[in-house]
Amino acid sequence: MKTFFLSIGLIISILMQIFVFQSWQVGVVVPNVLLAFIVVASLYAKTEQLLWMSLIAGLFCDLYSSSDFGFYIGFYLLAAIVAKYLLKFGEVEFSWWRPLVLLTFMCLVQVLVVSVGLFSMLSFYSVTKIMISYVAYTVMIGLIWYLLMSQVDEFVKRLIVTRTMN
């Protein structure tokens, strides 16, 4: 059941990322919906599921990207591994802020890697403004994913309990 909802979430994320968010830009910024999804999904998915989802997400991003092929496959796989191990580290109960802090950090790393060359071409203020909007927009999407997934998780748990009782 969980796999079904996670697959639906992945498909929605891929479609939104590649085809829909181009017309929902804030300024010039398109948020990283897939990164937000992978980081939040790491709370609910098994390691194997998460790695396969990251591979598929990276493959689709690379197909529609101008970066060297393989960049996004590597990036999402790495993000999934880091998220899976860091988010559960030392805690049994999930805190809502943990995935968002991790997402902010990962987003910052990605945007720095991608836009390091921009500092020589645009003013420091402009690049910083763009980077902040990018991170903020992505974290906002991450928060939406977190709220959605926690609701779905609750629903699945209730469903399992009801079925067991019956």
Binding site: L15, Q17, I18, F19, V20, F21, Q22, S23, W24, Q25, G27, V28, V29, V30, N32, L34, L35, T47, E48, L51, W52, L55, G58, L59, C61, L63, Y64, S65, S66, S67, F69, G70, Y72, I73, G74, L77, I81, Q110, V111, V114, S115, G117, L118, M121, L122, S126, I130, Y134
Partner: protein, 265 residues
Amino acid sequence: MKRQQSVTLAIICSVALAIIALKYLGGFWPFRVVNDQILNPIGSAFSQVGRSINSNFSIITRATELSKENKAQANEILALKNQLSSLKEVANENEELRNQLNFNERLKLDLTAARVVSSEGTSLRKYITIDRGKNSGLKEGMAVVSSGVLVGTVDKVEDFSSTVFLSSDPDFRIRAIGQDGRAQGIVRGQLGQGYLFEKITQAESIRKGELVISAGSGLIPKGIIIGEVESTTRSDNAVFQSAQLKPLVNLSSIEIVFVVTGLKQ
């Protein structure tokens, strides 16, 4: 359990490496065919849904009539600017031709229409994918226009799709001239903050409101509008002057573009 996870990780990494190797060794065509023939049409439909939701949302937030009126006026202004630009180009060329006692017919563009399928998803660099490729005669470096205004150049060409490098990217550079003062320089993108028309010598004149057009280089013909001068920056002790250009089309909402595949006499 841990051993099982390590095995899964190893399998997934191997699959990822195999896919990447396939891409670089030339065996990636089945993915590309699926992408061009199945995913792009589906993606195109989703893009339209996204745009229509976006446009509906903006209609809610604005007064409907004002929005329509504004759009109509913007189109009208753009059409008039295009007309004016063509007329000015004709006038300039006539003068030059009269001076040189030589005549050449004004060049007209051969255009191929293409639909915007997707945009670069997760990067700040500005690329879009269009649904035309080698099969439509597209080549790398060709100019891409929307409403007669330059929006970028063709970057990578596949059989049925191409990547367009948008003019708003800071790495985008093109030789340009001011239409009135004939000031020559380089235009580059500034990520949503218009364009910078730079490397204009101090002796040349550039004025606010003047249209800046392509100077003609490579596969990009001369005379395509790039933007309108918004402000100029000039200091007496500098070698060059520069101007801030206002883009005349909104690059995030373009749906259909035209690729300049050649010139017809």
